[in-house]
């Protein structure tokens, strides 16, 4: 009997683990911005639907409760049904939307390029509150407990009350912030055009620590197993000890210092990153050594996503790629004929990505 109970519990645990991440609620999938989901997509993928949004879709979609939330550069933000891609509601923002939404407890958070930050009702799309900053918001917010964190080109990192939209604190940096805030255990990690990685205390917005990386940090840093991984614009990747800020390694990738706008994904001992030199790469997280490189026909701003053992990303060559995490071997490719800068999202058995000509593509397992 005991054995049966244990077996059942074990089976449930396995089932939960296999089901993986039931949702993709924010940019890079989690506050730590790892860009990883344990969900494995079927080997054979087929197009489920295409939704036309007209304006460029450059932000990554959120997938929660069989709905998809995504915005475009015309400021149109929509909710789509996961199954059929039908629009359930839409919201018109003041400016273009590159900031990927974060969804938490029935609310959706994102910013626009006119400096407005929104909280919408997940069910209806109605605005609950709006917060205005002094610069455009490209960074994607993250949510934890009762707080939402955002960053802006006005140099500030903000912490708001997620229920009321009231400002809890703000922290000034020396330059525009393009990358999205990443949460470690006690800090909000951010980088910007001032060449620093900053650890800002969650509790009060005070600077805990900063590390001079001597280059612009446009890609969102990753917090993973006690380390911070950051790709900087000039083609370098760094691993920094998260508690003390000590540099573990600092490597240059590619031949000509490729611009790294895409945010890396980190799974176990592998980092996957992509650059404007058209190449997606996998590095050894322990040493920074390159394991494989996969070349596309266009520059890559689309941040790679690791789902199970596969890596998904788009390219400005118009293709959505699936390559193996182990070897960097191409497993699948879908031509959209339009540049892809948005990062894919994976949840609930679907792969969703928007493209520059305004379409949102959704894929599922082939019957």
């Amino acid at each position: 009997m005991m054995l049966n109970t244990r077996s059942t519990v074990f089976a449930i645990c396995i089932a939960i683990a296999s089901a993986g991440q039931a949702e993709w609620s924010m940019f890079r999938g989690s506050p730590a911005r790892t860009g990883v989901t344990e969900e494995r997509l079927p080997e054979r993928l087929a197009l489920a639907w295409v939704h036309e949004m007209n304006g460029s879709v450059n932000c990554s979609a959120a997938i929660v409760n069989r709905a998809i939330f995504v915005g475009n550069d015309d400021g149109l933000f929509v909710a789509l049904s996961l199954d059929q891609g039908k629009r359930t509601w839409e919201f018109q923002a003041q400016g273009g939307i590159e900031s990927s939404p974060a969804v938490k407890d029935g609310r959706i958070f994102f910013g626009d390029d006119q400096g407005f930050f929104y909280a919408l009702d997940q069910r209806t799309g109605e605005q609950i509150w709006r917060f205005e900053v002094q610069g455009k918001i490209i960074a994607s917010p993250t949510v934890e407990d009762k707080r939402v964190y955002l960053a802006s080109y006005d140099h500030f990192l903000y912490c708001l009350d997620r229920v009321t939209g009231d400002l809890i604190w703000k922290h000034e940096t020396d330059a525009q912030i393009h990358c999205s805030p990443c949460l470690t255990s006690d800090s909000v990690l951010t980088g910007g055009c001032d060449g620093f990685l900053r650890w800002v205390a969650k509790k009060n917005g005070e600077l805990d620590m900063k590390v001079d990386v001597q280059d612009v940090v446009a890609a969102t840093p990753v917090f993973h197993q006690g380390s911070v991984y950051a790709a900087v614009l000039g083609g370098r990747v760094l691993r920094v000890e998260a508690d003390k800020g000590l540099l573990i390694w600092d490597v240059s990738v590619g031949k000509n210092s490729p611009e790294l706008m895409a945010s890396p994904a980190v799974k176990d001992d592998r980092i996957v990153l992509a650059g404007r030199d058209r190449v997606a790469r996998c590095l050894n997280a322990k040493t920074g050594e390159e394991i494989w490189a996969f070349e596309t026909q266009g520059s890559i701003d689309s941040s790679p996503l690791v789902a199970g053992e596969d890596v998904f990303f788009g390219s400005s060559d118009g293709n959505l790629y699936r390559v193996s995490l182990a070897e960097g071997k191409q497993l699948w490719r879908f031509p959209t004929a339009s540049p892809i800068t948005a990062s894919p999202a994976v949840a609930e058995g679907r792969l969703v990505v928007g493209v520059e000509d305004g379409a949102v593509y959704c894929f599922k397992g082939k019957d």
């Binding site: 197009l47 639907w49 295409v50 036309e52 293709n319 490719r333 879908f334 031509p335 004929a337 000509d357």
Partner: protein, 473 residues
């Protein structure tokens, strides 16, 4: 062998064969039991109807309505008939399309197998309609699919035996908010409710009007004009207007000289002196009054032996451009209106070009801007002025066979019929300029007309129907 001996031998052989045949027939009739032979009665389903045909006998072919799992798509826009909303093969451009496709191909939204043929689709209300042929079931199949994913919503099928002959289906339905009208390969006309597939009425042009089915089966695509379906049985009558709602024939065009049905389709010319229906018959081209169906003019000079396939192209309000295959070339005709009530309309040939200069074997040319684009008999694309001056030909390296083409947003999209490649050509009178190419089919004989709604392009080869999405700029 001398001539006389040969003639006698043939005569004896002929008489002997006839005698043996006659004896066999008598023996068969005496030994077989006629009562054992049962007439073939088509299966009737719960949804089939026998419809009393106005002015004719009851049709024996019974249809069967079969539901499918599909649901209508949410896409807006319409390609409701042969050659699109304005029957000019120009797709309304809702977005500026990309002039660059890249090397990776175009996004394929769905692909399905269809019956062997060249029938093009129409799209309306998120639904796609196809006049298909079910070879296994030996049935014409009017199929309603989701334009979103190609899943079948319903089909209405009726028994018709057709032999393979360069494809089996080749007509394009016409659809409105209420009706879908089809003409099958053997000239069966059906009018169904466009959402539910319920049968409103049907006609058999062969039985009721004496139509002779053209070689390779019917190619005429029904024209819906207001409340009427306009069809050319090319028999008794030559042309007729049928009330969509009832199936009643409201006017007929007399046809004393039995000008027959071709693969061409009727087009509308909004002439200053009255709307006309223009149709290429087997014996010439005619203009018919849209008011009462009376024959206004005819031009026997436009007669094509073997097959007249392309449709006339209205140019402005009083000209018609005609192009054909089988060495017919092309001609531009001006339709002069009568100066008094007693005078007839008369067609004046403005120019005629030899087939070596310009012509079109299968597809109807496109009037785009002030120029005519077509695939000439060499397989090249060519551009011509309205005065008959050839402005360019695509050359030996750019031949498209009998592939279809349409115009959209300053582009001509053309399908190479044997290689299955889709080509994006700049619609310009200055020169032939190909902007992009994508592989679409591996099969062959991609002859069916294309359709386009928004950024979605629907195209087919002999056995597959594909929906592509063209990227925006």
């Amino acid at each position: 062998m001398r001539f006389g001996e040969s003639s006698w031998s043939r005569w004896i052989l002929w008489v002997a064969s006839l005698s043996v045949g006659w004896i066999c027939l008598v023996l068969w009739l005496r030994t077989s039991s006629p009562s054992g032979i049962e007439p073939r009665i088509p299966e009737t389903s719960r949804d089939s109807k026998r419809v009393a045909v106005p002015n004719g006998p009851e049709i024996e072919v019974a249809g069967e309505w079969i539901p499918g799992p599909g649901t209508p798509g949410s896409m807006h826009g319409s390609w409701p008939q042969f050659r699109g909303p304005n029957r000019d093969n120009i797709a309304p451009s809702e977005a500026s399309l990309s002039r660059k496709w890249g090397d990776s191909g175009l996004p394929e939204l769905w692909r399905i197998e269809v019956g062997e043929g060249h029938a093009g689709p129409v799209i309306h209300g998120g639904r796609l309609y196809l006049m298909d042929y079910d070879r296994e079931g030996e049935k014409d199949a009017i199929r309603c699919l989701s334009a979103e994913d190609g899943e079948e919503i319903w089909r209405y099928a009726y028994p018709v035996k057709i032999k393979r002959n360069h494809g089996m289906s080749r007509t394009v339905p016409a659809v409105t908010d209420e009706y879908v009208v089809t003409l099958g390969p053997k000239c069966h006309v059906h009018c169904l409710q466009m959402e539910t597939g319920e049968l409103f009425w049907k006609k058999d042009l062969v039985r009721e009007h004496g139509t002779q089915v053209p070689a390779w089966y019917a190619g005429q695509c029904p024209l819906i004009d207001g409340d009427l379906v306009v069809l050319a049985p090319g028999a008794d009558p030559l042309m007729m207007g049928i009330e969509l709602a009832s199936g009643e024939v409201v006017w007929k065009t007399p046809n004393p000289n039995r000008w027959g049905m071709t693969h061409s389709s009727i087009v509308v010319l909004d002439h200053p002196q009255g709307r006309q229906y223009i149709y290429c018959t087997t014996q010439g081209v005619v203009g018919v009054s849209a008011q009462d169906g009376s024959l206004l003019w005819s031009l026997p000079d436009w007669k094509i032996t073997i097959a007249n396939i392309p449709s006339p192209v209205p140019v402005g309000t009083d000209r018609v451009f005609l192009a054909g295959g089988y060495r017919s070339g092309c001609m531009m005709v001006r339709i002069h209106g009568p100066k008094s009530a007693k005078e007839p309309f008369y067609p004046e040939i403005l120019f005629r070009l030899d087939h070596k200069e310009f012509g079109s074997e299968q597809h109807t040319c496109i009037l785009y801007g002030d120029h005519i684009y077509g695939i000439i008999p060499t397989g090249e694309m060519a551009c011509m002025s309205l005065e008959g001056q050839i402005l360019w030909r695509s050359g030996q390296e750019a031949k498209f066979g009998l592939g279809p083409f349409l115009a959209v947003d300053g582009l001509i999209l053309v399908l190479q019929d044997q290689k299955g490649t889709l080509h994006m050509v700049k619609a310009s009178e200055e020169t032939y300029e190909e902007l992009g190419m994508a592989q679409v089919f591996r099969g062959h004989d991609a002859w069916g007309p294309m359709a386009m709604v928004g950024q979605r392009l629907f195209l087919r080869d002999l056995t597959e129907l594909v929906c592509l999405r063209l990227p925006k700029r």
